[in-house]
């Protein structure tokens, strides 16, 4: 017999995973229609890791990610409208059209950014954790990174600092097998990435990143450890991305179609749907979720299309804080010696 609450939770998580899948498919379509620009890195195939880790987080835990950010933002509860509007470069985007695909954020939900430089978010995440400790708060930080980022110096420096200072942080290595087109074993002398934690006397462990419940279990355990004992850890979620590195990459130069199909046999959505059916979910329930998700993504596209472009007069908006206007007064256009070409009069603060 299925226990109702588990079934209900699992249904909700399945809906979030499906939302990510459908959203990403739509984002690719919109990119190809030239309504989304820049880089656009999709999370298709990695939904169980996104949703599972975030499900284990408490509301006031903090999240930092790399640039494959859509799935995490959606899983954290940022509205598909705000994410799609950001991809469209519109005013109602979560970063008001200033960040785009790689730089989503939602501070109300503790999401302190998608960051675009491989490994660059790690030192910063240790700082968030340090601030939590200084402020006497009991929360933890999840810092997501890709398998490529473990070969950056920032990884070493951040893990050392986190262990040395006992910071409440879980380094979530999303190992999707390729850093761009370079397979993990062609880039890492120790391809079992979680083992690297031991160099810092830190706990590390792997998980099947496509098994939603396994991801939730281990994430909850490691987050508890971070919150309650201030023990940082490394969680390596082994998953697979179906699409290329970004929308501009067909994703076939470094792997075969057979390899992709093989992974699709173990698709996290199919696996979760199977568990749901086993727990008593009906075809009608699953179909209703399908329909709802399609509607939500359509609504997000409509919202993003309707959202106005950012005001060009506000080009420099928020670059500096309130109160900076006076400091820049002698540099701005309109001041006797301001440089029109160099500094835009955009309002210097929020």
């Amino acid at each position: 017999m299925a226990i109702a609450p588990v079934h209900t939770d699992l249904l909700a998580m399945y809906e979030q995973m499906l939302l990510i899948r459908v959203f990403e498919t739509e984002a690719e379509r919109q990119y190809k229609a030239a309504r989304i620009g820049g880089y656009c890195h999709l999370s298709s195939g990695q939904e169980a890791t996104c949703v599972g880790v975030i499900d284990a987080m408490e509301d006031d835990d903090l999240l930092v990610t790399g640039y494959r950010a859509h799935g995490f933002a959606l899983a954290r509860g940022t509205s598909p409208e705000a994410v799609m509007a950001e991809l469209f470069g519109r005013r109602d985007g979560c970063a008001h059209g200033r960040g785009g695909s790689m730089h989503l954020l939602d501070t109300d939900r503790g999401y302190y950014g998608g960051w675009g430089i491989v490994g660059g978010q790690l030192p910063l995440a240790t700082g968030l954790a340090l601030a939590l400790v200084r402020q006497g708060k009991p929360q933890a930080v999840v810092c997501e990174l890709g398998d490529g980022a473990v070969n950056m110096g920032a990884w070493h420096e951040s893990l050392n600092l986190a262990a040395l200072w006992r910071l409440p942080i879980v380094f979530l290595v999303v190992n999707n097998r390729y850093g761009m087109g370079t397979a993990v074993d062609r880039a890492s002398a120790e391809p079992d990435l979680y083992k690297r934690a031991s160099a810092y006397r830190m706990h590390g462990e792997p998980v099947d990143g496509d098994d939603l419940e396994a991801v939730i279990d281990v994430s909850a355990r490691l987050l508890d450890r971070a919150r309650e004992q201030r023990e940082p850890s490394v969680l390596e979620a082994i998953t697979y991305r179906y699409r290329g590195h970004s929308v501009a990459d067909a994703g076939l130069a470094y792997r075969t179609k057979d390899e992709i199909s093989e992974h699709q046999q173990r698709d996290p959505l199919l696996r979760t749907a199977e568990r749901l059916r086993a727990a008593g979910a009906t075809t009608d329930e699953l179909r209703a979720i399908d329909e709802r998700v399609e509607e939500r993504v359509s609504a997000a596209v409509e919202f993003a299309s309707d959202s106005p472009e950012p005001d060009v007069d506000a080009l420099a908006w928020a670059m500096h804080s309130q109160g900076s206007d006076e400091q820049f007064a002698r540099m701005r256009p309109g001041s006797p010696f301001g440089e029109e070409e160099l500094v835009f009069d955009g309002g210097l603060g929020k």
């Binding site: 979560c94 430089i117 030192p123 601030a131 420096e157 010696f337």
Partner: protein
């Protein structure tokens, strides 16, 4: 009329009126101590800032007074702990990160340029980064090519950062305090050779030097020398010497803040003197003097009686041998010669 107890209390209260003569280093330390006392969110982080009391002793005594949480020793991991400062600042802390010298900030450039400087604009104003990085630059002690550089212009050319460069003890205190109270990332570039220079420093803990205002460090009428940091100290020496020996009356404008930049003070001075020499300790190509000279050429086109001249570090990796180092530096002889050439 006062009782003995009141007298005792008055004696133990720190004097917060008037000024006191102290070194640039002591002025920095006073600024840090005052801000640590004023605001619990302020904490210091860097290599050797605590137990060792600072590589250059700026933080001497602060660990004993404020403890390890406020004065935090770090491993040799500039990218790591500058980034930790960025993250802590994003959550509302006021980290003051010390980098042993500006040269070592290069290994943390990603955190400074790609992260700290981007946060306000890139996230649409949803989060801020009130981070202070303080670090000395400066050459002249035979520290050789890797330890004698001034990249002030690189940072000042980056939108999203603020860069201040105090040239005297009063500004060292006032600008560092202003930086710590600022809501945005501020790089405070100090200077090793002037850590020991003395000057009068205001004791009022609420007094700061506003960011974005240059100062006329010496009034004159014949030529404007525009400088910052140690170059200002040299310019003032040269101006005094030329006044005595050649009857030349040079005005010295100390930029104090490179970004925001106060061109108004520079241009008003050049409008008066009609001649300008720009001096810096960095390499002049694409440097601070290049920027200032370009701006003077536009803002003061009708005022100039001579081309704008520049003096900076010779464009070589700084050599070790004392005579070579001296020859490469923007030393006082080179500045004086440049002043006379502009006046010729």
């Amino acid at each position: 009329m006062s009782t003995a107890t009141e007298q005792h209390e008055q004696q133990s209260e720190p004097d917060t009126t008037g000024t006191q003569r102290m070194t640039y280093r002591e002025a920095l330390r006073l600024a840090l101590r005052e801000e640590l006392r004023r605001d619990e969110r302020v904490f210091i982080m860097g290599e050797e800032v605590g137990v060792f009391e600072g590589s250059y002793k700026v933080t001497a005594g602060l660990l004993a007074e404020f403890g390890e949480d406020r004065v935090r020793d770090t491993p040799i991991s500039e990218e790591g702990f500058v980034g930790a400062g960025v993250g802590a600042a994003m959550l509302g802390e006021r980290p003051v990160v010390e980098i042993m010298t500006l040269n070592f900030l290069l290994v943390a450039m990603d955190q400074v340029i790609n992260h700290a400087a981007k946060i306000g604009a890139m996230f649409g104003g949803e989060v801020r980064c009130p981070l202070v990085i303080r670090t000395p630059n400066g050459a002249g002690n035979q520290l050789t090519a890797q330890h004698s550089q001034s990249f002030d212009g690189w940072f000042a050319g980056t939108p999203g950062l603020k860069v201040v460069t105090p040239a005297n003890p009063a500004d060292a205190k006032g600008l560092l305090k202003a930086a710590i109270r600022d809501e945005d990332p501020v790089l405070v570039i100090e200077n090793l050779p002037i850590y020991k220079e003395k000057g009068e420093v205001p004791l009022d803990p609420e007094l700061v030097t506003p960011i974005g205002l240059a100062a006329v460090a010496r009034e004159g009428s014949d030529i404007t020398i525009v400088s910052h940091s140690f170059a200002t100290v040299r310019a003032l020496h040269v101006a005094a010497q030329l006044a005595e020996e050649k009857g030349v009356n040079a005005e010295v404008v100390d930029l104090r803040s490179l970004r925001p930049l106060d061109m108004e003070t520079v241009a008003k001075s050049v409008a008066k003197t009609n001649r300008a020499l720009c001096v810096e300790e960095g390499w002049p190509s694409y440097g601070v003097t290049a920027e200032i000279a370009a701006r003077i050429s536009k803002a003061c086109f009708d005022d100039l009686d001579a081309p704008v001249e520049r003096v900076g570090m010779a464009e070589v990796p700084l050599p070790y041998a004392k005579n070579l180092e001296t020859a490469a530096m923007p030393n006082e002889d080179r500045i004086a010669a440049a002043v006379l050439s502009v006046l010729a």
